[in-house]
Symmetry: D3
Subunit: 62 residues, 6 copies
Amino acid sequence: MPIVTVKMLEGRTDEQKRELVEKVTEAVTSTTQAPADRVSVVIEEMKPENFGKAGVRASDEV
Amino acid sequence: MPIVTVKMLEGRTDEQKRELVEKVTEAVTSTTQAPADRVSVVIEEMKPENFGKAGVRASDEV
Amino acid sequence: MPIVTVKMLEGRTDEQKRELVEKVTEAVTSTTQAPADRVSVVIEEMKPENFGKAGVRASDEV
Amino acid sequence: MPIVTVKMLEGRTDEQKRELVEKVTEAVTSTTQAPADRVSVVIEEMKPENFGKAGVRASDEV
Amino acid sequence: MPIVTVKMLEGRTDEQKRELVEKVTEAVTSTTQAPADRVSVVIEEMKPENFGKAGVRASDEV
Amino acid sequence: MPIVTVKMLEGRTDEQKRELVEKVTEAVTSTTQAPADRVSVVIEEMKPENFGKAGVRASDEV
């Protein structure tokens, strides 16, 4: 039942995303004792023009 | 004011999504007495490579 | 796998929340053909001072 | 550390989104005293067929 | 219809939260031209033990 | 910048939550190469009466 959402900038490879789901699931099961088959992981990829820090978007950084 | 978000794998037809919004709104209004015009429904479609269960992504299932 | 989140003001009874989960799950399964045991529903209750519409919080409405 | 998410229908210009991130960050820092470099803003754009109000999707409105 | 969610550490005063909703709504309407009565703002307050940066929770910072 | 949200039933100890933040951050940095100080982890604890699977809430399971 733990539902994990990872929001990150787009651009990672398919292999990186495969490993991310695997390793995040391990991190959750090993620390919360939730069974792995109850853990969902959702990756939400953001475009640089849709993410900003300190008022400046990633797409506008010089 | 109830704000409903439905995250699901991409691939449903436009007609299925139309019905989903209608039926979910009915379910919320009939049980919470919130007026229908206050209910928002957001559908968030996920790519198979961005959703995993038990550490394995939908795109990697055999 | 559909993950449904319902954000609404606090104050509904336990019975209303029980029915909400049941009816929303039915709405999702009947329109998307997702099996019921794959559907998760999360209720997130908001305090009136933490929700605003048109710039005015529910707790400040006269 | 304030994390702001803005879900809105797709269609705004790049300039509108640039200003949105800037002005929302200012609004958060001026009212919560959080330092600007701790404020993240995420824009999530919705397709009209994936957003509904009162049971009717934006794409089905006549 | 823009739905804004602000996740931040608990501890702000009621007055700060009132102003936050007001100013964030202004920021959204002035940059996206969405009418104010379509803008929802949700504040989600986090306990220090439930938020971490660089692997360390706010409650564990020395 | 990766923002991770973990929604899970309430009831874990403070130590479990400390380790969860640490291990999830490691999982994200090791697979995405995002620097640790850019990774935020938010834990959202759910009451059993606010989470349901297959139409039945955790609080109603027999």
